[in-house]
């Protein structure tokens, strides 16, 4: 009996050990699949329309948040009146002041998603949407070149250890190529060329408006190189001519006014940092002197702050306007010797701003001065006012800190410099960009330039 019991025990035991081994050896997909391998909180696929909405939001921030405010102070349209803005106003330049707007050229909503959008729209054979994406890329990288100068571009997003910087003028050249190609693609027809449709928050998918925008951007970025390439003026004029010349075609950042969809200036000046900025009295005086109706559209009654209309949560922010286009046209004509044509375009621009036509027929420097001042005023709240000043030393601004020059570029982000040996330390970075040698005289007055 004991023997039988023993053998039964042994059988049981062997079975149990076998089962145990089976349990232990069961290799399966216990560690992968489903919510184990897929993040249930974050999507990994996006439609072109969804990417484009993100790209627009990111671009609006790049063009009209802190960069526009700080350059507004440096071009002396605004005062910095509190805490960090006092320091920025006094040219306190450090690697932190860009607030990440250098790396934002590349991160989510920036180049990485524009490229993704370009790939997706190309795969879908949607030339119109592809053209739109190229215009966005040109606007973003051209603006990046304006702010920072040389940029990582041809080797961008390649996961290179230390991607090199392309020379600034090479970036502008690429921008022109992109825009030329986009203009062709935006004219495409056929069933696959659906375009962005309602995801296009500025133009509602109207390709003809994108074509105009592309031309005006060509004029803008060509003009930014004019200081070192004086032959571009005629092309500036011819591009501006077929660009945005009607205010109905203005390229605006639009805001619904809901949470996280509000005008940046409203958020900054009304909600987050009231009292940090104020209108610069010199700029206010200039508008008064010219009896410019924009005195009351830009500013409130006592010119102590921006106007309520400009500080509404849903106020659109102009990024590229007919006024800018007409004045680029005018300046291009004037600089290539056509004063009469230039005056016509200047007066068109003045009319848009509610100003009467120029008294008399100014020519030469007098006309140029009028055009440049008009550009300076028209580009309030835009980086373009500062770009104009850098290029033309007009108006001939006196630096607010004696002995200092008005800053002519932003340093690269510290995070980018720390992670890329191709970016020199701040002390070795140039004070001015390649497109923008210091002016000896103010283009508008001919007097010695004091701020550069």
């Amino acid at each position: 009996m004991t023997g039988a019991l023993q053998s039964m025990r042994n059988i049981t035991l062997a079975g149990a050990l076998g089962a145990f081994a089976l349990v232990a050896a069961c290799s399966d997909n216990f560690l992968t699949g489903g919510e184990l391998s897929t993040d249930p909180n974050r999507p990994t696929q996006a439609t072109s329309a969804q990417l484009f909405v993100g790209v627009q939001a990111s671009t609006w921030a790049e063009l009209s948040s802190d960069m526009a405010r700080v350059t507004g102070m440096w071009s002396q349209q605004l005062l910095g009146t509190n805490v960090q803005y006092v320091d920025l106003y006094h040219y306190g330049v450090s690697e932190q002041i860009t607030n990440g707007f250098h790396s934002a050229l590349y991160t989510g909503g920036g180049l990485v998603d524009i490229r993704r959008l370009e790939q997706q729209t190309a795969a879908a054979h949607d030339s119109v949407f592809h053209g739109v994406a190229e215009v966005m890329e040109a606007l973003l990288m051209g603006t990046g070149a304006d702010l920072f100068g040389a940029l990582t571009y041809t080797r961008a997003l390649t996961n290179d250890q230390n991607p090199p910087l392309d020379p600034q003028l090479a970036v502008y050249d690429t921008v022109q190529v992109l825009l030329s190609r986009a203009i062709v693609e935006l004219g495409a027809t056929g069933p696959t060329n659906a375009g962005p449709g309602v995801s296009d928050l500025a133009y509602g998918g109207d390709a003809s408006k994108w074509i105009k925008l592309a031309h005006t951007l060509k004029a803008r970025f060509l003009m930014h190189t004019a200081e070192v390439r004086p032959t571009v003026y005629a092309t500036v004029a011819s591009e501006a001519k077929v660009g945005i010349v009607d205010a109905a075609d203005n390229f605006n950042a639009v805001f619904s006014g809901n949470a996280q969809e509000q005008n940046f200036w409203y958020q900054f000046d009304v909600v987050q940092r009231p009292g940090y900025i104020a209108p610069d009295p010199q700029f206010v005086a200039l508008l008064k002197e010219r009896t410019d109706p924009r005195l009351t559209t830009y500013f409130n009654a006592d010119a102590s702050d921006l106007s309520d209309a400009r500080l509404a949560p849903d106020a659109p922010l102009p990024l590229v306007t007919a006024n800018e286009g007409l004045l680029l046209w005018a300046e291009g004509l004037q600089r290539s010797g056509n004063d009469a044509g230039a005056l016509t375009r200047l007066n068109q621009g003045r009319a848009l701003a509610g100003l009467p036509a120029e008294a008399g027929t100014p020519t030469g420097r007098a006309l140029l001065s009028e055009i440049l001042l008009e550009e300076y005023i028209a580009n309030f709240q835009s980086i373009e006012a500062w770009n104009l000043y850098k290029r033309t030393c007009t108006p001939n601004l006196t630096p607010v800190v004696a002995g200092k020059k008005i800053p002519a570029r932003f340093p690269y982000d510290i995070s980018e410099r720390n992670t890329n040996t191709s970016i020199p330390p701040l002390s070795a970075q140039p004070a001015r960009n390649a497109n923008d040698p210091a002016n000896t005289v103010s283009d508008g007055t001919g007097a010695a330039c004091v701020g550069q």
């Binding site: 089962a19 216990f30 391998s37 909180n41 990994t44 990111s58 989510g108 928050l201 958020q267 909600v271």
Partner: protein, 1083 residues
């Protein structure tokens, strides 16, 4: 519910395993006897067993025990019969097992050093203490009951074991406890250990609803456990001890074993504890100067006027009413804790059934701070077959709490209270006419001000808010099966689940200063953890001198977490404080699922009953590891040599043992950190708060996420060696244990910035950092005198840990923790310091080779030469321009909150039936940034601002205790009240850059406990009251604190266990002092 998605083969195999056939029946043996103490008194609760057969029972109240050995296992063999009870030296005898009755009586000797105590070593394994080569500290239930914060099982570990550092956030009901074992090993996360209850891992997350700095206190989830159900807590400290838990064990493991029933008569225990709590200390405030600025009164009288926030006004006239705003918000809190348990069993079945009710009403007035917990528990085992025993542990916890807004929060209690000028009466807190909140900064609210900020909330208005609540239901259960088919092999299975839903609301009514339009936050957390742990233990003796044992195991674990957070902004009507009464909602949903498949094996060899060696390995597969590192192996080896078994234990040395251990543990990456994904929550704008989202004008947008997933991510790894020795003296009446350890943590995960132009992302998680922790631990117990009438026991422990971040990542010197602390005094991990240090700015100091711009001297001046010869190293440089110190623009580490050493000291004295106990808790070092004082200096309510009428000289009456040097040293810097106000409201207060001036030494000695227990177990107790014994306990807790710290308490922290960086004092509530009366009835 249990959707573990096991493959069929596993289920089938498990079924086969458990369906083993039964054995036959024949003539049984009955083992019986009596157990008594040296003094002859019967000992109850002594476990008498034959370990080789897995049978036994516990003695009854009369010391008798009886159990039966099934006939199939009775073969005339010699077996060891074992008698053990906590606090006594166990005894083993050999008996011959024959059919019939075998009688054996034991007399047990009391001992403090328990070599033969069986301790749980994790993942279903156990071992006698003497054979374990690594340190496992054991805390028994009596120590837990006596703890300062007995309601929270983690808090109650304070001062019980060396290098187990426990910080309880505050004395508020529901405050969390932070525990860190042998230093932090990671720079992300809060380094809290794994908590395992009866072999089932449980969740111990601390998750604040709206950020640890503000919001309200939040429990650490292990606080749900009813401490009355806890039998012992064992702390696996080193990597060798905890390697069996693999990649979840980097921060150590706390094993909680709950009470079980045993063979014998049914026992009943009823305990009722009433605790009266008071705040220990309130903030020192001045009562001489009123609201105002520059010495002028600053109250305002117009409707809806805004008055100054400062108390830099005119001196108050004698007899004018003043209010102590630190004290008036508190009263006596009451905690009522009632527990009942019934336990017992027979030879085949045991059970333990308990229920607990804890109602804690906090020390803050208003009745809206409370924490109530109800628990029920059933543990039972049944021996189905002679070889097969099933069991189960089932607990249900229900906790509800009401909390008060705290901390860095303009609607927080103390922030408004302590800033209120002494001459302002915060009562009534509602304006008698408008019925709206009035505060010292907004004293005359009209009906037009329903959505206007009050500057800071009136503390009584804060206390009146009853809308910060949590309601939690939690189920913790496990099924166990134990199958011992023959003497040399045993199988054990634990299959359990921990499941809770925490439903919270946090609402701010209209006129709340931090959100005047009102808001409602709903937060719901659901967590489910399922664990399967199967072990096979094979033992074999090679002759009489070699014992071996092999344990093989499998562990499968699944953790599922769901969080739904909805922020409802802007109240429509003043009440109800509910989501549907808000204008707009922002929802966030977060889900995660993590699986673990671990296999472990360990082999143990015992040689000549003196050398014991264990070697093991755990191979862990985690779903959170990168695809290229799907599994990771964690080896361990330890050895213990009881040398006195070789050389003899003559004389005073009764036992001596040397041990050495090496082990590896890990820490898994966060869920989904290997994945690069798109973001719906990216924001575009500047650091000034102007942002837009990806979604615009009704169009959904998506962008590339800012953080790159890293598919190569592997677990962090700790390698730890420890060496130690244990000695028992004078027949085990005294002991000493010494341990040294050296732990190195590599592959520590941290976010590093990446080049955006190259990658399109801003950061990536990498295995980059290295951290070291070295330390020394001492434990000693002495029983200097013992007789039938009097027993004296003294014990102490000492722990020292030196932690250091050796490196982070190339070029990275520190990682800031932006959610921990403040701008100017923020949490960080910095190379060269232990993880969790505070960074900020200091003044320029002499003797450090600093080169900074000094007013009147020049740019980048040599500070040391400006200080002049003979300046003390570290002295403040005092400028000759204004006779004030100069702020150093460079930022660095200003405070290290990690203590240099900690110690606990306890003593027990028994005289007859009266037992006295006491406990002291010591901390040396550990700096605290006293941000509360920084703010109160600025607002002029701190007592130390009374100095405002004197001339001010640095190093004398301003920043006293600081050495000074330089041209302005010793000269008068402040001549008037306005000078003082300027200093305190700018550089010298919370608005200043040099926050290092508010860093203080947080060393303390706390008298944690003094108690007296009278045990009535005389015959008349039974005859008159029908109970076998009655215990009456009177105790005081947190009786006194000796510290130089100027603020409320160096132990508190603004964020609880959700912060790695401790040592922030900013308007959190103080600890409490308690008086306790408890009665226990046993039958």
């Amino acid at each position: 519910m249990l959707r573990l998605q096991f493959r069929w083969c596993r289920a089938l195999a498990s079924a086969a395993l458990l369906a083993a056939p039964a054995s036959l029946v024949a003539q049984a043996a009955t083992v019986t006897g009596h157990v008594a103490s040296e003094g002859g008194a019967p000992l109850a609760g002594v476990t008498v067993s034959i370990p080789g057969l897995g049978v036994g029972s516990a003695t009854r109240e009369d010391g008798q025990y009886t159990f039966t050995v099934p006939a199939t296992r009775v073969a005339g063999q010699s077996v060891t019969l074992n008698a053990r009870r906590v606090g006594y030296t166990p005894q083993t005898v050999t008996v011959v097992l024959n059919a019939g009755t075998i009688t054996h009586d034991f007399v047990l000797v009391a001992a403090v050093h328990e070599l033969e105590q069986v301790i749980v070593t994790g993942a279903g394994t156990s071992q006698v203490r003497e054979r374990v080569g690594s340190v496992i500290n054991t805390v028994d239930s009596t120590a837990l009951t006596r703890a300062t914060q007995p309601q929270n099982v983690i808090s109650s570990l304070a001062a019980t074991a060396p290098n187990v550092r426990v910080n309880t956030q505050s004395g508020e009901p529901g405050a969390s406890a932070f525990v860190i074992i042998r230093g932090a090993t990671s720079v992300t996360g809060t380094n809290q250990p794994l908590i395992v209850v009866d072999n089932q891992p449980i969740d111990n997350t601390t998750l604040s609803t709206n950020g640890g700095d503000g919001s309200t206190v939040t429990q650490n989830r292990a606080a749900d456990i009813n401490p009355n159900d806890v039998e012992t807590v064992q702390i696996l400290k080193g990597a060798a001890a905890s390697a069996i838990y693999g990649a979840r064990a980097a921060n150590g493991v706390i094993l909680i074993t709950t009470k079980k029933g045993s063979n014998g008569p049914t026992r009943y225990a009823i305990t009722s504890t009433q605790t009266f709590d008071n705040v220990i200390k309130t903030a020192p405030l001045q009562t001489a100067f009123g609201q105002g600025s520059g010495g002028n009164a600053g109250a305002c009288t117009a409707a809806d006027c805004n008055a100054t926030s400062l108390s830099w006004g005119a001196p108050l006239t004698a007899g004018a009413p003043v209010f102590d705003h630190g004290k008036e918000i508190y009263h006596t809190g009451l905690t009522s804790d009632n527990a009942i348990s019934v336990s017992g069993g027979n030879q085949r079945t045991t059970f333990y059934l308990s229920g607990g009710l804890t109602d804690q009403l906090g020390v803050m007035r208003g009745g809206n701070n409370r924490y109530d917990r109800s628990t029920v528990k059933l543990s039972a085992t049944h021996q189905l077959l002679n070889t097969l025993t099933f069991g189960g542990n089932f607990s249900y916890f229900n906790t509800t709490g009401e909390y008060v807004q705290k901390g860095s929060n303009t609607s927080g209690l103390l922030l408004g209270a302590l800033r209120t000028p002494p001459d302002f009466n915060n009562q009534p807190f509602l304006d008698p006419i408008s019925g709206l909140q009035r505060s010292y900064r907004f004293p005359h609210p009209t009906a037009a001000s329903t959505t206007d900020s009050r500057g800071y909330d009136n503390p009584f208005f804060v206390l009146d808010n009853s809308a910060n609540r949590s309601e939690l239901g939690r189920f913790l259960g496990s099924l166990t099966a134990s199958w011992v088919p023959t003497t040399w092999v045993a199988f054990n299975e634990t299959f359990g689940a921990d499941n809770y839903t925490d439903s919270r609301i946090e609402a701010l009514p209209l006129t709340s200063s931090s959100d005047p339009v009102g808001s409602v936050t709903r937060f719901q957390i659901t967590n489910l953890e399922i664990d399967h742990n199967l072990t096979a233990t094979l033992s074999h003796a090679f002759g009489s001198n070699f014992d071996s044992r092999v344990v093989l195991g499998q562990n499968l674990n699944s953790r599922r977490n769901r969080q739904v957070y909805v922020f409802g902004d802007q109240l429509i009507a003043p009440t109800p404080l509910a989501l549907q009464n808000t204008v707009s909602f922002t929802p966030t949903e977060t889900r995660s699922l993590r699986h673990v498949a671990g296999y472990f094996g360990q082999a143990e060899l015992d040689v000549y009953n003196q050398l014991h060696v264990t070697a093991g390995v755990r191979d862990d597969g985690f779903s959170t590891f990168g695809a290229s590192h799907r599994t990771a192996a964690y080896p361990k080896v330890d050895a213990a040599w009881t040398f006195t078994n070789l050389v003899g234990n003559g004389g005073w040395l009764s036992n001596g043992r040397l041990r050495a251990a090496y082990g590896e543990t890990g820490r898994e990456p966060g869920a989904y950190s290997t994945i690069s994904a798109l973001s719906t929550t990216a924001l575009f704008g500047s650091g000034f708060g102007d942002f837009i989202g990806t979604k615009q004008s009704g169009q959904g947008g998506l962008v590339t996420g800012g953080n790159l997933g890293n598919t190569d991510l592997k677990p962090e790894r700790n390698r730890e060696a420890e060496f130690g020795a244990d000695f028992g003296f004078f027949h085990q009446s005294s002991d000493l244990s010494v341990t040294y350890y050296n732990k190195r943590s590599t592959d520590v995960i941290l976010p590093v910035p990446v080049n955006a132009a190259a990658t399109g992302a801003a950061s990536a998680l990498v295995n980059g950092a290295t951290i070291s922790n070295k330390g020394l631990e001492l434990v000693a117990n002495v029983k200097p005198y013992s007789s039938r009438l009097v027993d004296v026991t003294l014990g102490g422990n000492y722990g020292r840990n030196i932690g250091k971040v050796e490196s982070l990542f190339k070029g990275v010197q520190f990682i800031p923790y932006n959610v921990e602390g403040f701008v100017g005094s923020g949490g960080s991990s910095t190379v060269g310091y232990a993880p969790g240090v505070i960074r900020g700015q200091d003044f320029v100091r002499c003797g450090r080779g600093e080169k900074v711009t000094l007013p009147g001297v020049g740019a980048l001046a040599n500070v040391d030469s400006a200080c002049g010869a003979g300046a003390k190293k570290g002295a403040l440089y005092i400028s000759g321009v204004d006779n004030q110190p100069v702020v150093n623009p460079d930022e660095g580490v200003i405070a290290d909150p990690n203590p240099r050493w900690t110690a606990g000291l306890n003593g027990q004295l028994r005289i007859g039936r009266v037992q006295f106990s006491t406990l002291f808790d010591m901390r040396r070092g550990g700096q605290v940034w006293d941000g509360t004082r920084a703010a109160l200096d600025r607002f002029g309510t701190a007592a130390e601002t009374n100095v405002r009428t004197s001339d001010g000289v640095f190093g004398q009456n301003i920043l006293p205790g600081e050495a000074v040097a330089g041209p302005g040293a010793g000269k008068v810097a402040f001549h008037s009240l306005s000078d003082w106000q300027t200093w305190f409201t700018t550089t010298g207060g919370s608005a200043g850059d040099a926050q290092a001036q508010f860093v203080e030494d947080g060393s303390f000695v706390k008298w944690r406990e003094l108690s007296l227990v009278y045990t009535a177990d005389q015959p008349w107790v039974r005859s008159h009251f029908g109970v076998s014994s009655a215990l009456i306990r009177v105790a005081g807790r947190n009786l006194h604190t000796w510290t130089k710290y100027k603020g409320l308490d160096p132990e508190t922290n603004i964020g609880g266990a959700e912060f790695l960086t401790q040592g922030f004092d900013f308007f959190q509530n103080p600890q409490t002092r308690s008086f306790v009366v408890a009665v226990t009835l046993n039958r």
